[in-house]
Amino acid sequence: MNGQIVWEHFKELQQYFPNVSLSYENDRFYVRGEIQFRAQYLDDEQVDEAYLIEIELTPSYPNVPPISRELGGRIPDTFHTFSNGTMCLGAPIAVKMTFARNPNLLDFVRRQLIPYLYSFTYKEQYKSLPYGELDHGAKGILNYYMELFQIDSVSNCLRLLYILASEKYRGHLLCPCESGNNLRRCHGPLLLELQKYQHTAEFRSELIDCIEFVKKSRKK
């Protein structure tokens, strides 16, 4: 029953992106239309573009971020898309955290969709990505978490992920990052924060993928 909130968010989005329309099909809302924007990252070139986009709002919206697709056939599936054609805007936990800070359509478009479209457009024109990209699959996830935890050790990163995947948070135990502090005074607060955005089962499946990846790369 998110009709009222979707309506309000849609109206807000439409003020800035007038060429979108709202429809309701098969138990969920869809926002479709042209997203026209001018965007710039730091001192990089400004991009002036328009893409035909579909944004799907599941019944749990705005508790979960929307799913988006590019409908004009401009973005090839070799560029960061899922096998079902939806755009992969970032590591799953990153997409959730960014959305949760301002859970509405306009901020989703501004903070996640447009940066992704900017990145693609920029690459087409200048053959490089303005703010890099994550590696495919588990490697990208692992690197994302290592960057987030600000640690260099793969095995310590997996240990931190294990705490999230197993709900075995004990603040008085030593932090797996080997800082010598206990968890409570080290990575603990960050882990507790992360738990708000993703279920244990989702962390578990990420952890399993990461372990598989590490095993395979060691064999090589």
């Binding site: 009222q4 007038p18 924007f37 965007a39 328009a50 992969c88 900017y118 703010y131 890099g132 994550l134």
Partner: protein, 410 residues
């Protein structure tokens, strides 16, 4: 606001409503369908029944058909057909009447396959049409109402049209309930008449010109296809309600069509275009939201209009104009006045989405707002009228990207 702008907006609303309406081709098909069903039932053997009268009721009778939306998609049209058996109510039980009608329909090989499960008040025939636009034909068995139960406070000509319809309860027992769809239709026509007469000749000509494949002469164009600003306004209001309550927490309490139709008809002042009619209706309804306030009883001016009344015990009344014993708002006070709240929330929405938006004096913005509310029908109408369909007036926003997520892929 210029007269030119108002007339543009009116044409837009008119076009939207006509696209929500049943098309002349579909109308003809619907009449053929229910005439065939009527004939089939009429040819049955019913003991003690002198005659059977068949007539449509509801939006089909009133000319306010609005294509329903189910699960976000345009759905089949609903048509209610009364089959009034001329038999004394005391000489038949509601269960027996319902049964004989159902049995007769099922004797027809084709209808038997189309027959849906028994409804509360009716038998439903499902017509899946080849062009994808189907009908639900609801056949309502009825008898004339007892003279003693016909209300005496209204026009005798209307009162004598009262009928008793069957009602199957949850425990599978049946009882009678009173109704007067034909009388209501007369009441509505009476209000609509002046506008109908002035619109008739022009609209018939245009309907004839545009549908020469259906009509051999102008006289064949049925009166039912003539639409006044009142009827168009009701169609717009019903569609707006369907759209705005989609997946809304108040959806179960959204205003029923009978309330919208009754209040709109009572407030219609002979305005000559849809926009003016809507503005008048909505402005009045919105003012009535004052009845939600605790001091409602002091507001004699609101109470005295005979539209929506708040009783001293806090309950609400919107009386059926042809049967003062029937209160359309009898459940408005339940759950802390949830239905009343939903109604006034809706009137506020209509005011914002349809009326106040025209204060921007910007055709582009108005068209945009109607697109949001009415969807594709609005876009095609605007195109047909040569109005701008996308408000390219807004320049693309500049986004300064900071702390972006890096794209990833499985």
């Amino acid at each position: 606001m210029t007269i030119e702008l108002e007339s543009k907006v009116s044409s837009l609303l008119e076009g939207i409503a006509s696209r929500l309406d049943i098309s002349p081709t579909k109308y003809k098909q619907a009449v053929e369908r229910y005439t065939a069903v009527s004939s089939w039932i009429a040819e049955g053997e019913f003991e003690g029944v002198e005659d059977i009268h068949f007539y449509p009721q509801g939006s089909f009778r009133l000319g306010t058909v609005t294509r329903p939306v189910r699960n976000g998609r345009d759905a089949d049209y609903d048509i209610d057909l009364v089959s009034e058996f001329k038999i004394m109510k005391k000489n038949i039980t509601p269960q027996k009447l319902k049964e004989i009608v159902g049995k007769r329909i099922a004797e027809h090989e084709k209808y038997k396959k189309m027959l849906d499960d028994e409804g509360r008040r009716c038998w439903t025939l499902l017509y899946a049409e080849e062009d994808g636009v189907g009908f639900h034909l609801d056949v309502l068995p009825a008898t004339p109402e007892d003279i003693s139960l016909r209300t005496s406070v209204i026009d005798i000509k209307i009162a004598e049209k009262a009928i008793a319809i069957t009602h199957k309860k949850k425990d599978c027992t049946y009882n009678w309930s009173s109704s007067n769809p034909s009388g209501y239709g007369d009441w509505f026509d009476d209000i609509n008449k002046a506008a109908f007469d002035s619109a008739k000749s022009l609209q018939k000509r245009s309907l004839f010109e545009n549908n020469r494949d259906i009509y051999a002469s102008i006289d064949e164009v049925p009166d039912a296809l003539i639409k006044t600003p009142l009827q168009r306004a009701i169609q717009i209001l019903k569609r707006h309600r369907d759209v705005r309550f989609t997946n809304h927490s108040m959806a179960p309490d959204k205003p029923i069509s009978m309330i919208i139709t009754t209040l709109a008809a009572k407030l219609y002042n002979g305005e000559r275009d849809v926009f003016s009619a809507l503005r008048n209706i909505v402005t009045h309804l919105d003012v009535l939201s004052g009845l939600l306030k605790p001091d409602f009883s002091l507001n004699k001016q609101l109470q005295g209009q005979g539209l929506i009344t708040r009783n001293s015990d806090g309950t609400w009344s919107i009386l059926n104009p042809v049967n003062p014993n029937e209160n359309f708002a009898d459940r408005w006070h339940e759950n802390n006045h949830q239905k009343a709240r939903a109604f006034f929330e809706w009137t506020k929405w209509v005011k914002d989405d349809i009326i106040n938006i025209i204060g921007t004096n910007d055709v582009g913005k108005i068209v945009k707002s109607y697109e949001t509310t009415f969807g594709q029908v609005s876009i095609s109408t605007a195109r047909a009228l040569g109005l701008p369909t996308s408000a390219a007036v807004v320049s693309a926003p500049i986004i300064h990207i900071s702390n972006p997520n890096k794209p990833w892929c499985k």
